[in-house]
């Protein structure tokens, strides 16, 4: 019989995140991960059914943390300008504090597991966001476009700036430092683009 050990599990989690960020979802095996985390493959299987189970559990924990951060001081009844500003500040803070976790979520976003993963998480976050967007459209503060288009304009610019900052270089290898001033300037452009 085997027993659980919180430290070992933590070590597996951290190594897995690191390996996924560096090598992608397909770039590691249980065996490699167990070795890197300093546990035996047998120990790994005490905590997780398989690799997919591990990725899903990591994703769930991280999504929960990320959505909590994003919703701080946010209310879907806010004006579109105010609500988007609060979200930008929250999302930027989360990413700057957890660059490796942002990398992990990014890896997953572009994988086949993304669809599956959404069935696991509750839809509270989605409901709040939908309500915010519906209000904004009703109040003629936001143009009506498909949700993918909305997301690509409303949030992708922010994430791209953060990525430039984290990777240390931007277009043409220029050095780039993220700042609140740059964030607010970009937000103004985004708000302009989304006006009906």
């Amino acid at each position: 019989m085997r027993t659980r050990d919180e430290n070992k599990q933590q070590s597996i989690r951290e190594k897995a995140l690191e390996m996924i960020v560096q090598k992608g979802l397909d770039g590691f095996s249980m065996q490699k991960l167990a070795k890197a985390a300093g546990v035996s493959p047998a120990t790994f299987y005490i905590y997780y059914k398989d690799k997919e189970d591990l990725i899903m559990q990591l994703w769930l924990e991280e999504t929960k943390r990320m959505t909590e951060e994003t919703l701080k001081n946010f209310d879907p009844a806010m004006s579109f300008r105010e609500g988007l500003k609060v979200q930008w500040i929250n999302r930027a803070r989360y990413c700057m504090k957890n660059p490796e976790k942002m990398g992990f979520l990014e890896q997953l976003r572009h994988s086949a597991l993304w669809g599956k993963s959404f069935k696991l998480v509750g839809d509270d976050f989605k409901k709040v966001m939908s309500q915010f967007v519906a209000n904004a459209i009703k109040n003629k503060e936001l143009v009506k476009v498909p949700v993918e288009v909305y997301w690509s304009i409303a949030f992708a610019p922010l994430y791209n700036l953060v990525k430039f900052h984290i990777s240390g270089g931007s277009v043409g290898g220029n050095k780039f430092t993220f700042s609140e001033k740059i964030m607010m300037e970009t937000l103004e452009l985004v708000l302009k683009a989304l006006k009906p």
Binding site: R2, Q31, P41, T43, Y45
Partner: protein, 71 residues
Amino acid sequence: MPILIFKTNIRFKKDLKKIEPVLNGIDDVLKWNIDRHDIDKVLRIEARTDNLEMIINSIQQEGYLCEELPD
């Protein structure tokens, strides 16, 4: 609840099909899965017992390798 971890050579779906009724037929086996992507084809069992022998024998009787994966 004991978690039992075995190394096997259960590689293909047809192998899985043979093993399925065996494991489902053991009362003390509550949940099980086989990670066929792993080189050790790890069989993971959540069981009511830690009687390894009984499980190993049942699988070996079907002609498969099954041994405890050591720590």
